[in-house]
């Protein structure tokens, strides 16, 4: 298993177009991929399937929040690297 933490810096967080780009990218990999983050109010960890647009949207990731991307499977390294790069580049908005 491979996992990395990264802060989401783009304006809308993991919503709208960025969320759909994220899910589209995740779907290209065979590995199981999950995204987790800490609820800003309850401090509980929440987790969602990175290939589910509904899961990602309801995760509620806003600008400035840290997320953990973890992948398990044959292409886990490439999957995590690709998704981290997408977040780092503000989903191509930079």
């Amino acid at each position: 298993m491979k996992e990395l933490k990264i802060v989401v810096n783009n304006k809308v967080g993991l919503h709208a177009r960025p969320a759909s780009l994220f899910v589209q990218a995740a779907t290209k990999f065979k590995s199981d991929i999950n995204v987790s983050c800490q609820d800003s109010e309850t401090k509980e960890d929440r987790k969602a399937n990175a290939k589910s647009i509904l899961g990602i949207l309801t995760l509620g990731v806003f600008q400035g929040m840290e997320i953990t991307i973890e992948a398990e499977g044959e292409d886990e390294d490439a999957a995590v690297d690709t998704l981290v790069a997408l977040v780092e580049n503000d989903f191509g908005e930079k």
């Binding site: 709208a16 759909s20 969602a48 589910s52 647009i53």
Partner: protein, 577 residues
């Protein structure tokens, strides 16, 4: 005969039979003897059919509607393929012995509820999307036809509560004469669609429209915002005449779009365009603009991470000037304030940004923003007919301060050996009542004025035009605003300066006679309005308009003034309904 009044949502008149757009209710009954294997198979087939439908709707939307509409169906496709949604449905079938319909209905509902509970407009829209997708799958499972309008076989006026994107994309638009909705507003999806198609729409007429029988004749007046059901023969004839008259004026207007506008008594009137980017420039030329009365420059600054460089601005200005050759182009310097989100400028939020440090006030305080824009404009002027205009001027000293910065820039460029146009006219927007009241003083400082009626109205009437509760007061047809316009024009002409207008009033058919009467020199408007404005001007005689304008300004309200113009100049009444 029955007349219902609503909100005018899209201009024009339509006459035809009513077609009630009724969505079939999706009734799902609990079944016993569920064979999970069988239900899973049905679900799989239904989902793949739904995918095919969405893909073909997506293609149709790409061709016929906007990209934003098409994107909605891309989102639908993602929802349909969502692993969590599918896992939820399959789980209910396998472990709770539920039918495919019931499992889909419940799972879709619970995801939609989660989204709807997130108290954010974006999520509320996604909640609707999920239900839209769910209902598509349910219709397939239940064998219900997709669009209620497949039963519509003659051109009709569609009656509905309000329509969703899924509803409207499937409509055969060649059969739609207009829309009449019980709910909705001028900004709802149906209204936007109707305006895009150029067909009339009336929104928010109330539930009574839904009880009208299919086939009942209706006269839909999208300009006035009324629907008349089962009208008499005479009334129908009268409206047919009006449609004919309006059509012939529009046709004629398009035919002569590129000809200059000369009044009946031979006065040449300059009709120019308001634009905000290179595409607007092309549309302006296509519609017969004789130049640009307002080049908004805000687009260069919005939705980006740092200030546009002088070089970048120079290129864009040059591209636009190039479209117009030797025609005049008036560049308005940056007009933003605390209401705009431009993070890199570090603008402070102000409690009332329309009365705050915006536009020229901001530019004078921020040479780092102002100077690169002025330098870029001056550089681009070489070989073209560029004019520069400052927005939101309240006092003469502001004009002098702005001119000083401009002179510095041009001295710098001269020193650097950069080419510039030999003469560049300098003007200001007159949009603050104080500027209108001391127009005689300001006229000595500039070469021209351009009256911005949108802001002039809201500042004169102290009514925020974006606040629906008071927006009605922010109307340039109030005599208070029109009298200021009269004084501004008089004061400028006394100093031998010319006056244009770039607010919405300048393209308003009912305002054209008044503005001609007040001797406005230049009319600047959105490109699509130019052909009609020119055609109206051609049919007016300025000598009669002076009298009409003076009388109009003695009236009390916008409604009085508009009714007066319609009475005096019947052909404009035909166009505006």
């Amino acid at each position: 005969m029955k007349e219902l009044a609503g909100i005018p949502a899209s201009r024009g008149i339509g006459i035809g039979p009513i077609f009630q757009f009724v969505r079939k209710e999706l009734i799902i009954e609990e079944r016993s003897n569920i064979q999970p294997e069988e239900e899973l198979k049905r679900l799989k087939t239904a989902i793949s059919t739904a995918k095919e439908q969405i893909d073909s709707i997506y293609e149709k939307a790409l061709k016929e509607s906007s990209d934003a509409d098409a994107e909605i169906f891309q989102a639908h496709r993602m929802i349909l393929e969502d692993p969590e949604l599918l896992a939820g449905v399959e789980n209910k079938i396998k472990n709770q012995d539920k039918s495919a319909e019931l499992a889909m209905q419940e799972t879709g509902q619970s995801f939609s509820d989660i989204m709807a509970a997130m108290s954010d407009e974006y999520f509320a829209a996604r909640a609707t999307d999920i239900l839209d997708v769910r209902n598509r799958v349910l219709r397939i499972l239940l064998g219900i036809a997709e669009s209620p309008t497949t039963a519509m076989n003659e051109p009709s006026v569609i009656a509905a509560d309000d329509l969703t994107p899924s509803d409207t994309v499937l409509l055969d638009k060649t059969l739609v004469i207009g829309f009449c909705t019980s709910r909705g507003s001028a900004t709802s999806h149906t209204a936007i669609l109707a305006r895009g198609l150029g067909i009339p729409a009336v929104a928010g007429v109330g539930d009574e429209v839904l009880s009208q029988k299919n086939g009942t004749q209706v006269i839909l007046d999208g300009t006035k915002g009324t629907a008349i059901f089962a009208p008499g023969k005479e009334l129908i004839n009268e409206y047919h005449q009006r449609i004919k008259a309006a059509n012939s004026i529009h046709e004629e207007a398009m035919k002569y779009a590129e000809e200059p506008a000369r009044t009946k008594d031979g006065k040449r009137v300059e009709v120019v365009a308001n634009i905000g980017n290179v595409e607007g420039a092309k549309s302006a030329v296509k519609n017969g603009a004789e130049g640009v009365g307002l080049l908004r420059t805000e687009f260069l600054y919005l939705e980006r991470k740092k200030l546009p460089t002088e070089e970048e601005q120079f290129q864009v200005y040059k591209d636009i000037l190039d479209v117009f050759g030797d025609m005049p182009v008036i560049l308005r310097t940056l007009d933003v304030g605390g209401d705009k989100e431009i993070p890199y400028m570090g603008l402070e939020a102000e409690s009332n940004s329309f009365l705050g440090q915006r536009a020229l006030r901001l530019c004078l305080a921020r040479p780092d923003i102002f100077k690169p824009q002025l330098r870029a404009a001056l550089r681009a002027s070489a070989g073209y007919n560029l004019k520069i205009m400052f927005p939101m001027v309240a006092t003469a000293s502001e004009v002098r301060a702005a001119r000083k910065v401009l002179d510095e820039c041009s001295a710098e460029l001269e020193e650097e050996g950069v080419q510039m146009a030999a003469e560049i006219e300098i003007g200001i927007m007159v949009e603050i009542p104080s500027a209108a009241l001391v127009a005689d003083q300001l006229a000595k400082e500039v070469d021209f004025f351009s009256i911005g009626t949108n802001d002039l109205s809201q500042y004169t009437m102290a009514a925020d035009r974006t606040n629906p509760k008071v927006a009605e007061l922010s109307d340039a047809f109030f005599p208070a605003v029109l009298r200021l316009v009269r004084e501004v024009i008089r004061a400028a002409h006394k100093e031998g300066k010319w006056v244009g207008m770039c607010g919405e009033l300048a393209g308003e058919p009912l305002a054209l006679p008044i503005l001609l009467g007040l001797e406005l020199d230049e009319f600047s408007m959105n490109p699509p309005m130019i052909p009609l404005a020119k055609q109206i001007i051609r049919n007016l005689d300025t000598r009669d308009m002076k009298e009409i304008a003076d009388q109009a300004l003695e009236l009390e309200s916008p409604a009085d003034i508009q009714a007066f113009i319609k009475e005096k100049i019947p052909f404009i009444a035909e166009i505006t309904g």
